[in-house]
Subunit: 255 residues, 2 copies
């Protein structure tokens, strides 16, 4: 939690922290216009979920941790909103599971790529991939499909938080096991994922890290059992049900 002066016991701590980090992201050239709109969509779905981690999302986070620990070449794909919202948490997760970090943007510009890589390094990252751009995900137009050949290009497991639907589908078609973090259980990205985590990145990323640390000493068989027991369709259905049943039920007046 760097650079913020919001007291943690403030009733709207998470919301204010998010706002603060997004504003800082805009100032640094990390957060795009589309990123701000995406942030608003996320806020709406998080509001409907009650701004909490569902049990099904916690199970997904644990399955994600087990999947990452079992991976040969895991990569955490970082876009502008992820970098702005959870830079330190992203670096910690990558460290905990031995994943590479790769900047990958829907609207790729050199300036934003560099700003995001710098921001991750300021928050403790070592190597940050993505700037080479010598690989390609088949089935996407060039600007959308560019990746590092030895990063996402060679990965077996990819964490793609807040990913665009077309790209999530192309990554799955390219044989990647995807871990998607997205607050809308109806959107294509989580529906494409082997492990969809329907949760706010601010809660989900540290939660996957916590599970990874907890599973550090688990046997391969124990980790495999966690992955096998996880049902992505059931997790999506649980999130949809939580939104349907929880929405407006408590007279919450957040606007």
């Amino acid at each position: 939690m760097t650079g913020t002066e919001i007291p943690e016991d403030h009733p709207r701590y998470a919301s204010l922290l998010t706002r603060h980090r997004i504003e800082a992201g805009v100032e640094k050239g990390i957060t795009s216009r589309q990123g701000l709109i995406a942030q608003g969509r996320a806020e709406a779905f998080d509001y409907l979920l009650g701004e909490r981690t569902l049990p099904s999302a916690d199970a997904a986070a644990r399955a994600a941790a087990a999947t990452l620990l079992a991976a040969d070449r895991p990569v955490f794909s970082v876009n502008g909103n992820v970098a702005a919202l959870v830079p330190e948490e992203t670096v910690e997760l990558a460290d905990a599971v031995g994943a590479d970090l790769e900047v990958n943007l829907f609207n790729r510009t050199d300036a934003r790529m560099e700003a995001i890589a710098d921001h991750l390094r300021e928050h403790g990252a070592g190597e940050v991939k993505g700037l080479t751009g010598d690989g390609e995900i088949p089935g996407l137009e060039h600007a959308r499909g560019t990746v590092d050949a030895d990063g996402i290009g060679a990965a077996d497991v990819v964490v793609v938080p807040l990913e665009d639907g077309d790209r999530a589908e192309a990554l799955a078609a390219a044989g990647k096991t995807e871990i998607v973090i997205d607050l809308n259980p109806g959107s294509r990205s989580p529906r494409t994922a082997a492990v969809p985590i329907v949760d706010n990145v601010l809660r989900a990323v540290p939660n996957v890290t916590a599970h990874a640390r907890d599973l550090a000493d688990a046997t391969p068989a124990e980790r495999r059992a966690i992955v096998d027991d996880f049902d992505p369709d059931a997790a999506l259905e649980a999130a949809e049900r939580a939104i349907r049943e929880g929405a407006f039920s408590d007279g919450d007046d957040e606007s």
Copy 2:
């Protein structure tokens, strides 16, 4: 529909038109960062509503039209997103019901006030109020409560689309009859309104205009009957039910 080249039969016409207008709003200094995030929240709720005007929202639009036609001093309060998204439609509604236009911003700066007033004039507005700022809505800190004394300050009926909850409550406490357009039926602004329209401003504003034209020749008693028959709590409940029951029901995959 000015300045856009999106064909009207495009399957995602409304969504692309919205995107186009919001981008133009950013370029012109009309749309703020908070406006972009608010746009994202609106997109999420519209997605859950099925991007359609509910019968209850159409009834609300008709009650709004009747309320505006019966008003002595109606004022349409215009913020950055309203100006960016529905400038021409806003001017048309104000003309149809004889309302004044007043720019009123949550984050008030002279540059944005002027840019929005200019944008409305480019879309056919005559006088645009709000820049005098010689009045005040009691109960709000100065920057938030500033209005024109002969505009919102003297209004009996105010259209406040996409309004902040604190300001909506202060306007109601000041005795204004409020018509609120907001896609989240759980937020405070529509809950404060005499006439809450839970609909996208792109659909709602022209719809109120259409009802106003339809009711132009109605008698005062006929208009009063429409207002009296409208139940704001029932309209909000219908919108909440539509979201709860409709969400994710059709396998929609919009991300």
